[in-house]
Amino acid sequence: MADSTAQPRFTRRTFLGWWMASLMTATVVTGLAPILVFLWPAPPKGQKKTALTVSIGKPLDQLADGDAIKFDAPTSPNSAFIMADGGGDNAAGELAFSGFVVKTQGKVDVFAINCSHLGCSIALNTDAKSFDCPCHGSRYHLDGTVLHGPAAYPLSHLKWTQASDPTAIDVDGIILGF
């Protein structure tokens, strides 16, 4: 209305408008908030972080330079490894279901299997001595650095220690609870 713009007075009419608007907003918020909370998944019962012992088939000190051994997270109970670092699609705290133990230049590394591009499982290319991602063609050196894009970040490390069994390692992981 013309006069209300000329004299911005707080009338009964504006008050009622605002009052109704706040009431309706409050109603919508009261309805939506619990729905949003409900959508947020709670961790399943029995989920807990722990070190997962995985066998790699031969003692660590017998690994030769350029050896890479794939290992999987245990299925019962269903578990996954926790990445210690990572860029691109990977990040510290993200989960991986498999990994590689690699020895390059006398150093042993343990990598999560996920490509840093979009998280596909990389595979060992024994001829070229590289990790190749079948999805979008990314390739990595055995030390985890990028050999070929589209991946822009190196492979993620897993935090590990030598297990009491010389052919096994303890890797940081989580029991998923389902």
């Binding site: 279901f97 498999s98 079948p134 979008h136 063609g137 070929h148």
Partner: protein, 226 residues
Amino acid sequence: MDETTRKDGPGAATAATVIPIIEVDSHGGHVLEPEWKRLPIGPDHILYPVVVGLALFPILMGAAGHHLADDMPDEDTHPFFPDHFWPYPIIAVVMLVTVGLLAFFVQKDLQLEVPADPRAVTVPRPDWYFLFLFQFLKLGPELIMSLVIPPVVFVVFLLWPFIDAIGGPKVARRMGWKTWPVPGRNFITGAGYVIFLAIIALLTLWALAGPQFCLPWIINSPVCGA
């Protein structure tokens, strides 16, 4: 019966004596519409319940507005039922038979792989209609190719009628055209669309050509199929 006795609403209809109509010879003889608008199947026809079922659909879909056909001479139009309707049951049966035959003869596409296991090493490949997007992802920085360009294309499609209506006449003026035709008659929007489809088709073919088929590209060269 006099046409003036035709009245809308329940009140008119309860004057029950005005419905003596059973004229088997003509169009069932109901008097709800003048002769030229009559349905071939009237309320006393054995198929009338079917017709009512069919009509429920357009009735549910709301009142018809003022249509082009209302301003056209009768010989340039035809009634929806049965003249316009009859192909659709046939189309429906043909389609049902087609998918049934596909279901019978091409069962290999429906065979399951092994149950999902996140530890399995496989190459995820989307269904054919997402292959172009899958291939497109490889052609540039991930974020731009996945979360910038496709949504932008989607929004352009969504707002296309307005883009066409606002931008089109301006382009037409610059080109010296009198009007801005529909894409089917418009070199710019028509060709643009064909190019868009061609890009999608090429990306799909590229993906279908498989991982051995690689082409040099400005980024991440060479880029291979899926």
